[in-house]
């Protein structure tokens, strides 16, 4: 950071004065960080192990010279950024930028076990003082890291440090750091097997990202190919380029079921054919996407000179991230509740238009009455094919909605030097944005939660994991690389022997081959979850995946516990 400081000084001296504020602020924050580091070092002299003290005598002023020093340095940066309120930043491609230190230590003769211990200690330290929302959503802190990945020429960047990280996470069973794994159709089976052992732990990671889809998708959005190949996840699942982006990846959301319901009430009675109705829904999706563009354009990343010094381009140009000094300044938006929306339209097509079993008016009355007194109609709607059952016709509606969403948002200028990008995630919107949306024709009652991210609805029980991955891989996912995973819950007994682990690994490989963009598997046991809700004291250490993050089940708010219990669990 001394070097960084010198660069800032020299830049400010040669600057024509138009960026004086930025350089002054940046220097002030860097000086404050270094001052803090010095006090820390002083304290460590008498209160910490010698190794830590020695490391602090060097970093963050000087570049680290060992893996240990690099870990201390990284920890310092994470914590000072957090002091600066930059919370959901993620750890990026840890196995790439830390690899030189790992290798040079080995070359110097340091035993691998010592390095592995350092790695584990670093991971343990990530589990302290990370409570961002004070008492709720503990675990939603953005401490995700990405492993592996393929270069543009197809070279596999998974290495011995990636493997060590996997093994450390397997051994520690802690919620941080959350592991993401970049894979593609060429990834060897053994890696999926090791990753499945991690899924078996029940922590809800790794989360898989498919390079075959994500890299071309990012290039289509205008990212430079070499940057696209360097992608990581921001914090949960949103793809971003480390050190080059000040992107607001979840600036807003498209709530598909809300659009469907609105268009039904406005146009169902006037539409003589389903296709006519579908046109209105497409217009509705495009309209809401336009609203997002209108409402969010020109939005600023909060001014943050300290963050800016770590983002390529800001120091060079003298512009803060809030002045769009970064190379990428794009905005991403979630696409929430796609399964509920597609299921709803599929049911309307079958029951109202094709079989004409109920008058349009009756359907609207039933929805307005939250199905009170319309039990038979709700039963009929629930019986229609749902997304997750490999039904081409229902999935075909999902395809149209997703294409419309992507076309309406992707590439639209955001007034911040970047563009908008469409995704399939939901974060907590499966709960928040569902609260005020009335009953929908998939049989969902008023206020009931949607499926999480890019997943089946809670009412549409999929026929099985194979049909489910088929249902969620029929789309051009390169158009939806703001991200948002398919989540599937597998009963923990699936993982009980080697054979089961191999087969789960094959399931993941099938998803990747079919062109899915992101997948997240959970090993769960419904009975254990129910018991944990009743007797939290007996399940303090039970960890579950919530959305883009994992947390302790007993510390979650009630609605998130409920959602996890109600998600589909495939039993074997």
């Amino acid at each position: 950071m001394d070097g960084l400081r010198a660069e800032l000084l020299s830049k400010s001296e040669t600057d024509d004065g138009s960026h004086a504020d930025f350089y002054a602020a940046a220097l002030q924050t860097v000086d404050a960080a270094l001052d803090y580091a010095d006090r820390y070092c002083e304290f460590a002299k008498t209160n910490a192990p010698k190794t830590l003290y020695r490391a602090l005598c060097r970093v963050p002023h000087e570049p680290p010279e060992s893996f240990y020093e690099a870990c201390v340095f990284l920890q310092f940066i994470i914590f000072t950024l957090r002091c600066n309120r930059n919370t959901h930043l993620g750890l990026g491609r840890f196995d790439q930028y830390m690899l030189p230190f790992w290798r040079s230590d080995l070359k110097k003769g340091l035993p691998e076990e010592t390095l592995f211990e350092t790695l584990e200690e670093f991971f343990i330290s990530l589990n302290f003082d990370t409570d961002i929302y004070q008492g709720m959503q503990l675990g939603d802190n953005g401490q995700s890291l990405m492993l592996g990945g393929y270069d543009l020429d197809g070279q596999d960047r998974y290495n011995e440090l990636s493997e060590a990280v996997m093994n450390a996470s397997l051994e520690l069973r802690l919620i941080d750091p959350k592991i993401n794994l970049r894979v593609c159709s060429k990834t060897p089976a053994e890696r999926f097997i090791l990753a499945t052992r991690m899924t078996k732990q029940g922590l809800g990671f790794p989360q898989y990202s498919n390079d075959d889809v994500v890299i071309p998708g990012l290039i289509r959005l205008g990212y430079a190919p070499e940057d696209a190949a360097d992608y990581t996840v921001a914090a949960c699942w949103e793809f971003s380029i480390p050190g080059k982006g000040a992107e607001i990846v979840n600036i807003d959301q498209m709530v598909f079921p809300k659009v469907v319901r609105r268009e039904l009430f406005d146009h169902l009675e006037a539409c003589d054919s389903f296709d006519e109705l579908l046109e209105y829904v497409k217009l509705g999706v495009a309209f809401d996407a336009g609203e997002i563009v209108g409402k969010r354009s020109g939005h600023h990343y909060p001014a943050s000179p300290y963050l800016s010094v770590f983002i390529e381009g800001c120091v060079q140009s003298g512009k803060d991230v809030s002045e769009y000094g970064a190379k990428y300044n794009n905005f991403g938006a979630h696409g929430v509740g796609i399964a509920n929306a597609a299921d709803s339209l599929a049911a309307v097509r079958e029951v109202i238009y094709e079989r004409r079993e109920y008058p349009k008016k009756t359907l609207l009355q039933a929805l307005a009455a939250n199905f009170e007194g319309y039990g038979e109609l709700r039963n009929r709607l629930l019986s229609c094919p749902k997304m997750g059952s490999d039904d081409d016709r229902t999935d075909g509606i999902a395809r149209i909605l997703l294409e419309t969403w992507a076309n309406a948002l992707n590439g639209k200028p955001n007034g911040a030097g970047g563009i908008f990008r469409a995704g399939t995630g939901s974060a907590h919107e499966y709960y928040y944005s569902a609260r005020n949306v009335g009953a929908t024709p998939d049989g969902r009652k008023s206020g009931e939660m949607y499926g999480s991210g890019f997943s089946p609805s809670l009412t549409g029980k999929p026929t099985g994991p194979l049909s489910c991955i088929r249902s969620f891989t029929k789309y051009d996912m390169t158009r939806l690389v703001n991200g948002g995973p398919l989540s599937m819950e597998l009963h923990d007994s699936v993982f009980r022997d080697e054979e089961g682990i191999e087969k789960v690994a094959q399931l993941v490989m099938a998803f990747i081959r079919l062109g899915g963009h992101q997948l997240q598997l959970n090993s769960v046991n419904r009975d254990v979850l129910l018991d944990a809700r009743e007797h939290p004291e007996a399940h303090r250490d039970l960890i579950v995946r919530v959305w883009g993050w994992s947390g302790y089940f007993v510390e979650l708010d009630k609605q998130y516990q409920e959602h996890i219990i109600r998600r589909t669990e495939f039993q074997v």
Binding site: F371, Y374, G375, E376, R378, N379, R380, L382, S383, D390, G443, T463, G464, P465, L466, S467, I469, R470, S493, V494, R496, D497, E499, G500, K503, Q506, L507, M509, A510, R513, L514, F570, V572
Partner: protein, 284 residues
């Protein structure tokens, strides 16, 4: 065209043959094993299944059915908690249902397994399904072996792999606990051995019924006599009774469920048969 009732599809079945499989459960079984954990697969006639969880006791089902549960009740439940246990499929319809997942199964070294109920109780339907799948995927049949000789030979020709149950060697005990004579089962087993087709023998370990020293010795000897080198032992599943209420029946086995299954693997080894105990509570 033949058709049969299918009461369940299990995608991603892990224990029904090699690789990743889809298991198709045909409805109807000539046996009535006291420990059966698939009561909805026993009857050949369709019946109503009711999920208990989520029921608000609104009474809509009984009202629609005129005081009983019938097909009208299935359509009346506002939460759709009732369903017919079986859905009728023709072989072509079944192939359509499976077509999408076959490439996934084949890539993962798996295939399709027919189970039940008793799949051989629908020999024509089963044969046609197997013939339709020939060359498309790996085909397995999980069976009690209870059927006539001719249809068995017929199906054997169109099957790549068998999972064959042996329960009790003593004819009287077999009759008592399964309701059926074991003569055709043992005859078909010999036919299977002679055919050279790959198969695995499965022996349920029912406490005090099939896991006795006498029975397991008889089975081990029988396997040995037929040149069989390995077998899978299945400890009793204490959740066996969990689905009876949903089909309006009571689970009342004539043995003590709380006793732990005995695997007695030494007996098998002494006859040159390598036993593999599958997952479940047991003692050796």
């Amino acid at each position: 065209m033949t058709a049969a009732l299918i009461f369940s599809f299990e995608e991603f079945a892990l224990h029904d043959g090699p690789g990743m499989r889809v298991t198709v459960f045909l409805k109807g079984c000539p046996l009535r094993c006291e420990w059966c954990h698939n009561p909805e697969g026993q009857r050949f006639e369709n019946e109503i299944i009711k999920s208990q969880a989520g029921c608000e006791n609104c009474g809509a089902c009984l009202k629609a059915g005129g005081g009983r549960l019938n097909e009208k009740s299935v359509r009346a439940c506002p939460n759709r908690l009732l369903r017919m246990s079986g859905e009728s499929y023709t072989p072509e319809h079944l192939l359509e249902r499976l077509r999408g997942v076959l490439p996934i199964l084949n890539d993962a070294g798996g295939g399709v397994t027919f189970s039940g109920g008793e799949p051989l109780a629908h020999p024509d339907f089963l044969y046609e399904c197997l013939a339709l799948l020939e060359g498309r995927t790996h085909r397995a049949v999980q069976t009690s072996g209870y059927c006539e000789e001719e249809p068995f030979r017929h199906v054997l020709d169109q099957t790549d792999f068998f999972l064959y149950d042996l329960k009790l060697l003593d004819p009287a005990l077999h009759k008592r606990y399964t309701g059926a004579d074991n003569t055709p089962i043992l005859r078909n087993f010999r036919i299977l051995c002679d055919s050279g087709k790959p198969f695995i023998t499965r022996i349920p370990l029912i406490p005090g019924v099939t896991d006795t020293e006498q029975n397991l010795t008889d089975i081990a000897r029988f396997l040995c006599d037929n040149g069989v080198k390995n077998a899978e032992l299945l400890p009793y599943n204490r959740l066996a009774g969990s689905k009876y209420a949903s089909v309006g029946r009571r689970y009342a086995p004539g043995f003590d469920e709380t006793v732990i299954s005995q695997a007695r693997t030494d007996i098998f080894r002494s006859f040159g048969v390598e036993p593999k105990v599958l997952w479940g509570d047991h003692v050796d």
